[in-house]
């Protein structure tokens, strides 16, 4: 009864927005989670003047559906409540690695295949193996692999806590490819630089320019209503609604009639998968042949245009890239392509490419590098930086005060790692008496000179014992650094012996992921530890499981949507800068512990507890970080703990420095924010881009210097070109696998957060469908394709290719054309019907079917955005 139940309201921050959490402390239970309404005490919201109107955002935070469902995956039977050991794994005897993923009888009924052990036993097993690795195997043998995203918080986030732990115990890490940025990182960087943004466009202060000057937006592989700039919830929805109220025209190019298109309307172009670059080339063809591009700008701000023009006109390869040619390639109508090109040239147009000025979508496909470079080429032709003209997606660039300093998660937190985070720029010098350098102590093992593994090649590294690749993880320091070669094992280092998984979801998020399953089941991997929150997917391959708690069960402090680092000033995804105390809302469930406490306990076992903690518990670190930000000038830590959140006042400086206006006007870069700036050493007088010419390079000097474009790096020619996709309709594979599936970033899970786990999200009609008691992942097909295969809406189907086989529930929809299917990536579960790694999965992991091939031999990016499959009706077993 409501009046009997005493609820306490606490504050939290999630990947999908800040929230109030109503807690029943007696029952240690979250009762409800809501957005936060601002009060009159909070700073006023920004006001934008445009076309005679004033716009100001709602005084309330928004949240993603994943955040809205948080309670159901905090309190769920899928939680890990105590440490577990795999049955068949004897750390002192037979380890039976090949049985990983095949539950042996006699286990805990809640966790099949595992038996309950005490924390003491679990920590001993982990600490003993680390000691063994150090003394008997050697450096490089303890390897940690974390998830791409973590539960939110500056102390507990992986860029903060994890390097601190690794540096304390001497572990190395599996480097993450710049997933979601791939084509921009490996491709567009060679056209316009921006290595410090991983190749994507400046967005800071973009919105005011957009609403005041832009007349049309071309959304290309961009669905902000689904991805929200990554962390911005639905903050940008109202910003798009204002644009529509002012009559800004929207056009969408996406194989799937996406959710932004569905909400906003506007002409829909659905190019055949793998052909977006052909459409771009045809647009350029129209502009060149009709003289409707900015010739002066191209002459002064770009390099190599004449050579590229010859390619577009077909003078070099005999194929003029006409609208008729593109129409046939893309399955579009030539008159629509001509109209698109002409309207674009006529209007001041923002190209909303990807999810945040680049990022996501087509850039993660086999043609990702050329599509990304084509996007830069097109906007260069229309004068990047002119009022209302740029690569801008509305998901970022709200006019908030970015000069007020509060760190983001990539600023390194309590780890201070200058090589694997942005710690050296601002936070570490403020937080640590001995300044930059690893904390609590430096080890070379996680530096460029240390031991390395690349996540995309992890299975081959373990199974074959060796691998070779270019670029170490997110390569942001310079353009050239991505060419640097690495190999496993690194010279003089041991091979991996103890694999310590810190959360993670490779099976759901990488390509051809049966590879990862096979990797777990090899003798080459003597021990696997998983520090995880839920008993799901990949966790079930571990030998020892350490139960972690969620962010709702531990202290932290943070700002909404603020990554910093390679994503500078991303707090401007939100309409208000929200700095939030993340309260421990409930005590950790069962015997689970915060990541900080688990790492601390492991360190204690190794006699390094004091070194790791510096005598501080989580809340002490929160206070320390808070006190070196600009916050103490507004309120003391104690006041903040009372108030629980703070809205940074706006400073109304935005109109001064829209993205690229400095470049357009040939001025020194004046973009706001401390990390957005080019390195002066890469410019002349702080003007120009990071490329060798300082201009947008249609012909890339960096690739010319690298010298592989015409030998073994042909996927990345000197110029942006349309190359037929090796996973497209021209390929051999198309004969056996005639359906092209686009598998973009998901709408109802965040990576694998929120999916499965018996969460409320399972009941979302567009996420999973219950058939005979099992929640199946949805696979979307056009009616004609379904009919040819005798498939009806709601049928169970099997999609397969030579990489794997997965069962889904079929949704027949008009939102994909014939030949194209749609299936979100990032399923959290893995449910093989036979031998793991070699049988049909019925959890819904489309990434079993996506390519393992990297963008090119020297571009270690993923290509999982689409794949070719065949589909049949599935009748079970």
């Amino acid at each position: 009864m409501s009046d009997k139940r005493k609820l306490v309201r606490k504050s939290q921050m999630t990947t999908g927005g800040p929230c109030w959490v109503y807690v029943d402390e007696e029952e240690n239970k979250i009762v409800r989670i809501t957005p936060i309404d601002l009060t009159d005490e909070d700073a006023p919201s920004y006001k934008i003047e445009a076309h005679g109107r004033t716009f100001s955002p709602p005084r309330k935070s928004t949240m993603t559906p994943i955040t809205a469902a948080s309670k159901s995956y905090v309190h769920t039977d899928k939680r890990l409540l105590y440490p577990l050991k795999r049955i068949g794994f004897d750390p002192k005897g037979e380890r039976n690695q090949e049985l990983r993923g095949t539950p042996q009888p006699g286990g805990d009924p809640n966790y099949p295949g595992y038996e309950r052990i005490s924390w003491d036993e679990a920590l001993d097993m982990v600490a003993d193996e680390i000691t063994y690795c150090k003394r008997e195997v050697g450096p490089g043998s303890v390897v940690i692999e974390c998830s791409s995203h973590h539960t939110w918080g500056l102390v507990n986030y992986r860029h903060s806590l994890l390097p601190r732990f690794m540096n304390t115990i001497g572990a190395s890490m599996v480097d993450h490819n710049p997933d979601s940025w791939d084509g921009w990182h490996w491709g567009a960087i060679h056209t316009w630089g921006h290595s410090a943004r991983l190749g994507i466009a400046e967005q800071t202060d973009g919105y005011v320019d957009c609403i005041q000057n832009c007349e049309m937006i071309v959304w290309w592989s961009s669905d902000p209503e689904t991805t929200g700039g990554i962390y911005g919830g639905f903050e940008s929805t109202v910003r798009r609604q204002w644009l529509q109220e002012l009559g800004v025209k929207f056009i969408f190019i996406d194989p799937h009639y996406n959710h932004t298109n569905a909400l906003c309307g506007g002409k829909w172009f659905s190019p055949q998968l793998g052909t977006d670059a052909a459409l771009a080339a045809a647009i350029a063809y129209v502009w060149i042949t009709e003289g409707t591009y900015d010739k002066d700008y191209v002459a002064t701000h770009t390099h190599g245009f004449d050579e590229w023009t010859k390619y577009i006109l077909g003078e070099t390869d005999g194929v003029p890239k006409t609208p008729d040619w593109a129409a046939a390639e893309c399955n579009l109508k030539a008159h629509d392509i001509r109209a698109l090109a002409r309207e674009w040239a006529k209007h001041r147009t923002m190209l909303a490419a990807g999810g945040k000025g680049g990022w996501g979508g087509c850039c993660r496909s086999p043609i990702g590098m050329d599509w990304s470079r084509m996007m830069v080429a097109l906007i260069a032709m229309q004068g990047l930086g002119k009022p209302g003209v740029g690569i801008y997606t509305t998901t970022e660039g709200a006019p908030v005060d970015s000069d007020f300093y509060f760190p983001g998660y990539a600023d390194g937190g309590i780890g201070g790692d200058p090589e694997n985070s942005a710690a050296a720029f601002a936070l570490a010098p403020r937080l640590f008496a001995h300044g930059t350098g690893n904390h609590p102590t430096g080890t070379n093992i996680v530096t460029a000179a240390g031991a390395h593994l690349d996540r995309l090649l992890l299975p081959e590294s373990i199974l074959d014992g060796h691998a070779e690749w270019s670029g170490r993880g997110f390569v942001g320091a310079s353009i050239e650094q991505q060419f640097h070669r690495y190999h496993y094992p690194a010279d003089g280092y041991a091979k991996m012996h103890l694999f310590y998984k810190y959360g993670g979801s490779q099976i759901g998020t990488m390509g051809s992921t049966n590879r990862y399953v096979k990797m777990y089941r090899t003798k080459n991997l003597p021990m696997v530890v998983s520090q995880s929150i839920w008993f799901e997917g990949e966790t079930k391959f571990a030998d020892v499981i350490l139960p972690a708690c969620t962010n709702f069960e531990r202290w932290d402090v943070s700002e909404w949507a603020s990554n910093s680092g390679y994503n500078p000033d991303s707090h401007n995804q939100a309409n208000h800068r929200f700095i939030v105390l993340q309260e421990k809302c409930v005590e950790p469930l069962g015997e689970s512990k915060s990541d900080y406490h688990i790492f601390w306990d492991v360190c204690k076992r190794l006699g390094l507890g004091e070194v790791f903690s510096d005598g501080k518990d989580t809340l002490d670190w929160c206070e320390a970080i808070y006190n070196v930000s600009d916050m103490p000038s507004k309120m003391s830590w104690d006041e903040f703990k009372e108030k629980k959140y703070y809205i940074v006042p706006v400073d109304n400086k935005a109109p001064d420095a829209p993205p690229y206006r400095w470049f357009y006007e040939d001025r020194p870069q004046d973009t706001r924010g401390w990390i957005s700036h080019q390195k002066p050493s890469e410019t002349i007088g702080c003007k120009g881009l990071q490329t060798q010419s300082g201009k947008i390079e249609f012909v890339s000097n960096s690739l010319k210097r690298f010298g592989h474009h015409d030998t073994d790096d042909k996927e990345r020619p000197l110029m942006p070109m349309y190359l037929e996709s090796w996973e497209g309709h021209h390929s051999e594979r198309f004969k056996d696998y005639p359906l092209a599936v686009v598998s973009p970033h998901p709408r109802f899970s965040f990576h694998t957060m929120g999916d499965a786990k018996d969460s409320f999200l399972n009941d979302v009609k567009d996420h999973r469908v219950k058939v005979d008691g099992h929640d199946y992942w949805i696979f979307r097909m056009n009616e004609a394709d379904a009919k040819e295969r005798g498939i009806k809406d709601g049928d169970l189907i099997r999609a397969y290719n030579e990489r794997g086989s997965v069962v889904f529930c079929c949704r027949i929809t008009k939102r994909v054309p014939k030949g194209t299917c749609h299936c979100y990536e990032s399923c959290a579960e893995y449910d093989p019907l036979g031998t793991p790694g070699e049988s049909t999965d019925r959890a819904g992991c489309i990434n079993m079917l996506t390519p393992a091939r990297t963008l090119s031999k020297y571009a270690t990016g993923m290509t999982t955005e689409h794949c070719l499959v065949q589909v049949e009706k599935w009748n079970g077993r």
């Binding site: 309404d37 469902a69 309670k71 209503e225 932004t260 909400l263 829909w268 409320f760 008009k814 939102r815």
Partner: protein
């Protein structure tokens, strides 16, 4: 003085199926005991806020609409025939008495399918506009959870006298879902035609290129509509009832189109 009535207004054109309303409802009610208002909703299976989907059109001329459907809080609730535990509060909310309704499954009585049977608790359940929160002065937002969590502005909660609301229905062009049911709902929709009616779309071309700014006419049995083609030469007549129509532009008939329960992409026309 007449009592203020509670109403919900849902704009179909602003809903894109993010499910925040549905999830906020689960968050509020699933496994939470709000007796005497509501017994705990089961963790899975109920949809007190049920989001219906409707796709229209063919080829690349399509759209999709969503209709979030809670209990419509009828003034003459058909479910009242199911038992005397159903009552309409003074503020217009239809409520089920928990004790008196024990064991009574009236889920079949609702023409909108908005009532759900909870086998574990042995009660019929449905949306009550979060009455336990509306009655709780400490609930600062002061509105139901679904409306509070909606991020697109698709939902509004209005408390006003019936006469004022009747004027609003007129002024804002609000419509009732399934009006033939005549149950006088307190949930009203904007842009309901996106869900209940159809469109005829197409494209006009001149010399193989798109023809913007062309006046296109659609003539039905007893109505004629006109609009100007857009920058792609495209046109879309929406809100159509079933029937036969004739499309014309620049004095020339383009096609005869039959709307029979589905929207129509009439195609491209050289004029």
């Amino acid at each position: 003085m007449a009592m203020k009535q509670n109403y919900m207004i849902i704009d179909v054109a602003k809903c894109h199926d993010c499910n925040n309303c549905f999830l906020a409802c689960q968050d509020e009610h699933a496994e939470n005991d709000w007796a005497p208002y509501q017994a705990p909703m089961p963790r899975h299976g109920h949809r007190w806020m049920d989001i219906l989907r409707h796709e229209r059109g063919q080829n690349d001329r399509i759209d999709v609409a969503f209709l979030p459907k809670p209990c419509l809080q009828c003034e003459n609730p058909p479910c009242a025939k199911g038992g005397d535990f159903v009552s309409v509060r003074e503020d217009g909310i239809v409520v089920f008495d928990l004790k008196a309704g024990k064991g009574k499954d009236i889920s079949g009585s609702c023409p909108y399918g908005a009532i759900w049977w909870n086998a574990a608790e042995q009660v019929s359940q449905k949306c009550d506009f979060c009455a336990h929160l509306l009655d709780d002065a400490s609930w600062e937002p002061g509105i139901p959870r679904c409306v509070h969590t909606c991020p697109t502005g698709a939902m509004a909660f209005v408390s006003e006298e019936a006469a004022a609301f009747a004027k609003r229905v007129e002024a804002e062009g609000l419509a009732a879902y399934k009006p033939e049911t005549v149950a006088k709902p307190h949930v009203w929709y904007k842009n309901l035609h996106r869900y209940t009616k159809n469109f005829v779309a197409g494209q006009v071309l001149k010399g193989g290129d798109v023809a913007p700014d062309v006046v296109v006419t659609l003539k039905g049995a007893d109505s004629t509509a006109q609009l100007v083609s857009d920058m792609f030469g495209e046109f879309r007549f929406d809100g159509l009832s079933d029937g036969e129509y004739a499309l014309a532009a620049e004095g020339k008939e383009l096609a005869k189109v039959k709307v029979a329960g589905t929207s129509v992409d009439a195609g491209d026309f050289e004029i």
